[in-house]
Each structure stands twice: as structure tokens, then as C-alpha cells.
Amino acid sequence: MNPIDDRERAIEAMLFASDEPLDPRQVVARLGDDGSIGEVRAFIQAIAARHAGSGIELVERGGHWHFQTPADLAHLLRRERDDPRKLSRAAAEVLAIVAYHEPVSRAEIEAIRGVQTSKGTLDVLMEAEWIAPAGRREVPGRPLIYKTTDAFLQHFGLGSRKDLPGIDDLRAAGLLDPVDLAFDEAMGELDLVKDGEEA
């Protein structure tokens, strides 16, 4: 490799260490000799060409030059890492209600859940991209209504919303068993044991 011209080196170092982009005029002033702006411009072009295609690039912004990393490598500088979190019970309920009743407004969700729903819960579901606003209900106040997304279907392995189990399916699966019935059944089993002992 040919040795690099001393003034080119100096300009390169200046542009590197400067805390703001420099224009050729500022570079000439800092060089402190009688170099012309035209010469400096040529050196800057040479520096930019020398770095072309590398992991460093010299770019012009409104007549001022500065070094930066190429945009296509930005993903390396801003590394993204997954941070999985379990959906809260409240959020799961809201998501289920949206899925079974969509499109549905926040007030309607609250009516079904029987408790107030914080804005944060809907935000979490929107951040997860499982629900999305679907326009407004044409009633007084024009509340925003929500529906589930394709990402929702994908995440839960559903072909469509029709694949969601119906109420009867849920009941058959025991998901709708009241707590006190379950208690009775547990007590019945105890009785049977006692009967067996007495026999």
C-alpha cells in the first residue's frame, strides 16, 4: 500500500476526533497552514473513497463531513435480545374476551369481566401484536373497538377464530366447572371411601 499523504492523514484524524461534522473551511483553519479549500476537498474525497465498502464510512451532511458506521450494519450496533414474559391472568382474560367477542370496546370488555380493565393491559396485548384497534363503535362516545390479529392466530396455533372452542367444548373440558361443584365431587369421593371401609 502506498504511504498516505501526511495532510490526508491529518484530515482523517481530525474528522475522526471531531465532536461535530466539519466542513472543508473548518478543516483548513485547523490545519493552520495555507492549504486551499479545494485541496482539502480533494483529500476528503480520497479519504471517503479509501473507506468505501469498509465498516467505516465518511459521509457528507449539508457540506459537513463525518465518520459513521454503514446503515446496513446498524443491527450489530443495536443488538436486540428476546426478553420473554408470561402474560398476566388479567391480560389473558382480556385477550380471550376480545377473541370470543370481537370487535369489542373496552367498556364491553369490562362488562364481561365484571372488573375494571387498566389501559396497560390493552397496551400489553397491542405490544404483543395480538390485538389491534378495529375502528370505532358508532354509539355515543364512539369508543375504540378491538379485534385479534393474524399474529394472534399464529401464536396460538389457530387457523381462524372459528377454531376457538365453543362454550360447550369448554364445559366438556372442565374449564367451566364451578368451584363448588368440584368441591362436591371431591366430597363424594370421600364418602365412597368411607362406605368402602364400613363394608
Binding site: 450496533l77 391472568r89 396485548l125 363448588d180
Partner: protein, 262 residues
């Protein structure tokens, strides 16, 4: 070893001791520092230094300082006393029993001075290196490398469905309780018992009156309602009840009209 790069211009030469004393004692970092400076004025390698001459220099330096009524800190005086002792020991005929010998003490002092001088020189050379921000420069505003945490929400289909089940239960609890609980009502038990009483003529246990296919909660319910029904029929004088004692089996049969229960 190279001469240290640190300046020792405050070192008192014989000719201008008074000037040096003006600066003195404030500018030294303790007796060892002063000793090292005095040693440097001998202009020889510290290995060849004359400890005796150094002691002389130190003692006369301190003496002059006191003459000038400069305040002399205690540690300088302690060193002076020790050096005065060392000087006399070095000058006296050697006593082989003396331990440590004056020569050993002198050697230790020499070794300490060498070590301090070495570190002083090292410090000077370190500070003279190409230092970041003075001789070499970094990027003023690097983009920086960042780790961004992407929140990914996790939930299974089961979580979703069981959550919906709980919502449904909360909103419609009454319906489920009534429609789902297997019970034998008092009316049904009365009706059933009345029918069975007619068939069984002798004493029979209450449990024998229940349909054999009742199990679990249904049987519990049937026993309870049949018991109440039996009491009701006894009140009406239509059955007789007998029981050997508390928690013993309860027997009943159709009442003999006109006769009180046993």
C-alpha cells in the same frame, strides 16, 4: 539507569542553600524525599552513594532550617536523630556484636532510596507516554453499542381458554349452580318414601328405601331429604321410627293407625 526526568531544581547546592531553604520542608514529601534529593546532589549512581556524606548533608540541612527558625516537622527530626546515631556508629570502630551493624543500616537506607528513585523515574516515564486526550484522541461521539431488550409476551392456548372459562364463571355463576347440582328435593323424597312405605311391611333401615343407583353427591342428597321426609311422615303419624342410639341406623315402617310411635 537513566537520570530521572523529574526536576530536582529545588535541590540545595552548597552555594545557594539559603534560597533552597526558602522552599524547603514544604516542598519535600517527607524525610526520604529530602534524602533522595540530597543524594541526587552527589551526582553519582545511587549504588555508589556515600551514605556518610548523605547523612552529613541531611543533618546540616536540618540544622540550618532550625537556625532559621523554620518549623521542622517531627518526622524530619526523628530521621535526623536516627541518622545522627547512624553517623556515629559508622565512624566508631566496628563492634562485631552490634546487630544490626551500621553497615547493614546504611545498606537498607540505600536500598530504600534506590526503590523510591526507581518509582519516581517510572512515574515520570509513565506520564510522558502518549496519553488519551492529550496525545491521541478517540472518537468524540461514537454511536455506541446498545443492547435492546425485546419484550416477547408468552401465553399458551390453555392459558387463554382457562382465562375465558373463569370469566364465564364469574359472569354466570347462579345458572351453573342450579342446573348442575344433583339433588333430591324434599318433595321428591316424600313422594318416594310414601310409595316405598306401602311396599315394605316390616322395620327397614332408611337407607334401604333409597334407589340403589344413587351414588356420590346424589346419594348424600337423597339421604338428607329422605331423613327430613321421614320426620315429616312421623309428625303426620304415618310412619313409626326407631333408633337404638345416636348415630345408629334409623329404622322405619308404616305406622299402625291409632297407636303412638315406639
Amino acid at each position: 539507569m537513566d537520570e530521572p526526568a523529574l526536576d530536582f531544581e529545588t535541590a540545595p547546592a552548597a552555594s545557594d542553600r539559603d534560597d533552597a531553604l526558602q522552599l524547603s520542608l514544604e516542598s519535600w514529601e517527607g524525610p526520604l524525599d529530602l534524602l533522595l534529593t540530597l543524594a541526587r546532589s552527589q551526582k553519582v549512581d545511587l549504588k555508589q552513594i556515600s551514605i556518610l556524606a548523605l547523612v552529613e548533608q541531611y543533618l546540616s540541612f536540618i540544622a540550618e532550617a532550625r537556625e532559621l527558625k523554620l518549623e521542622v516537622a517531627a518526622d524530619y527530626l526523628v530521621m535526623a536523630a536516627w541518622l545522627a546515631y547512624l553517623k556515629s556508629a559508622l565512624l566508631l570502630p566496628k563492634d562485631p556484636l552490634e546487630d544490626p551493624s551500621p553497615d547493614e543500616l546504611a545498606l537498607r537506607l540505600q536500598l530504600r532510596l534506590q526503590r523510591l528513585a526507581a518509582m519516581r523515574e517510572a512515574a515520570a516515564r509513565l506520564l510522558a507516554r502518549d496519553r488519551v486526550g492529550r496525545d491521541v484522541f478517540l472518537r468524540a461521539k461514537p454511536e455506541g453499542l446498545r443492547d435492546v431488550k425485546l419484550r416477547r409476551w408468552d401465553a399458551s392456548l390453555y392459558d387463554l381458554l382457562s382465562a375465558y372459562g373463569q370469566v364465564k364463571l364469574r359472569s354466570e355463576p347462579v345458572v351453573h349452580l342450579v342446573s348442575r347440582r344433583p339433588v333430591i328435593t324434599l318433595d321428591a323424597a316424600l313422594h318416594h318414601l310414601q310409595r316405598m312405605i306401602g311396599i315394605k311391611l316390616d322395620w327397614a333401615e332408611l337407607a334401604d328405601f333409597l334407589p340403589p343407583d344413587y351414588h356420590g353427591p346424589l346419594r348424600r342428597s337423597a339421604i338428607a331429604s329422605s331423613f327430613v321426609a321421614a320426620l315429616e311422615l312421623a309428625r303426620q303419624g304415618r310412619v313409626d321410627l326407631k333408633q337404638a342410639g345416636a348415630f345408629e341406623p334409623l329404622y322405619l315402617k308404616a305406622a299402625t293407625m291409632g297407636r303412638p310411635a315406639a
